[in-house]
Symmetry: C2
Subunit: 228 residues, 2 copies
């Protein structure tokens, strides 16, 4: 099929030769106190697979990774971060040396307003926690003065394509990869994925496959779109 | 020293032969929505090391484990759970076949009051989250009608021994293991630990050592105290 052919062509020609790619992966963790945090079920597998595919296509690849349990791919520089703010700092500091930015991490939308220095003792039956919005990493990068081809991800549990296209437009992205994390066997923590890649004016659905295959397909789409 | 000698004696004699031990390990995760949760930095290493030491001392051992990344020890039955309420259910269902209960898990004290069925969309700048208290697993087991020798853990960042002795008394435990998780290189996610074991009327400090060594020392103390 067309996706497999595009992926094969890409690896034959080193379609991202000379390009510098920064990819975020995994969850972020937002501290409540020295031992507790808010996080999410992202395993980092999709981001790591993308890094491997980008490196295989010839790109100089940096992975900005939240806490995961995956062996880093060869030929990829890994920068380990914990919180969303750490992740934004790490990405921004690499923007001048970045042609393509892929925001695959499941960044926490909110963090606790206050981080307690000591472990919070168990107290009353109910507790109220105030959360504040985290920076929107992919929107910041898309809006920056550096000309970076910016790819976002939309992990949704309902109305997946509508939400994804909304994000693409609202955040000024060049491409977005949508997947339905409520489906069994794909998305968070599984080895397979099934995604739709959307850009202004078009979209392509990729069949369910191993994350390495899906990653190669996404990298092929990026190579075609960012340098038509 | 006396701890090493006690541990060596125990393994020569199979000090827990015929005993049934249930051990909780790891963190719990408390869902906010299908993808987000509150958790903590417990790696589960200490609980898994205790299970290995209990099995080596001859006990029939069950590990009730939150989400961790550790290969389960041989000769140990593993029951995987996610939330504090799941963990309590799993422990209570095994109480009739339990002589010694060791609560090593870092159970979340609170969980979100409401679990959203769909992924929470990013909304206003601030958000308030209402948390409700989780069941106190070790206190429930200590207060149950079954005669179980109950051992708690106290992971603290300050006034460690005072807090630990307070917990021992307030929860009616037979023993508590205190450690200072604010120290570098011990406690959460590290391979070493340094603990003090307290019981009504006494305590013993164990020197910093690998978690397997500390686990053997704790199991030796339990064997001595529960069957003097």
């Amino acid at each position: 099929d067309i996706i497999a052919r595009a992926a094969a062509d890409m690896f034959e020609t080193g379609a991202l030769q000379g390009k510098r790619v920064v990819i975020t992966a995994g969850p972020t963790r937002e501290a409540l106190d020295p031992v507790r945090y808010i996080s999410n079920h992202s395993s980092g597998k999709m981001g790591y697979a993308l890094a491997e595919a980008a490196a295989a296509a010839g790109a100089r690849t940096t992975l900005v990774s939240g806490p995961v349990n995956i062996t880093p791919p060869e030929r990829v520089e890994v920068v380990n971060v914990t919180s969303a703010r750490d992740m934004l700092d790490a990405c921004e500091s690499r923007l001048e040396e970045c042609d393509i930015f892929i925001a695959c991490a499941a960044v926490a939308d909110y963090r606790p307003a206050d981080v307690q220095e000591q472990k919070i003792k168990k107290g009353p039956d109910d507790m109220s926690l105030t959360l504040v919005k985290n920076p929107d990493i992919v929107a910041s990068i898309a809006a920056s003065e550096h000309a970076v081809f910016t790819v976002g991800f939309a992990a949704e549990t309902q109305q997946v394509l509508e939400y994804a296209r909304g994000k693409l437009e609202r955040k000024g992205l060049d491409m977005i990869v949508a997947n339905d994390v409520s489906s069994q066997g794909i998305g968070f923590n599984s080895d397979e994925n099934e995604v739709t890649v959307l850009w202004p004016g078009g979209e392509v659905a990729m069949p369910r496959a191993r994350k390495s295959t899906v990653a190669a397909g996404i990298i092929a789409q990026i190579a075609m779109r960012q340098d038509p």
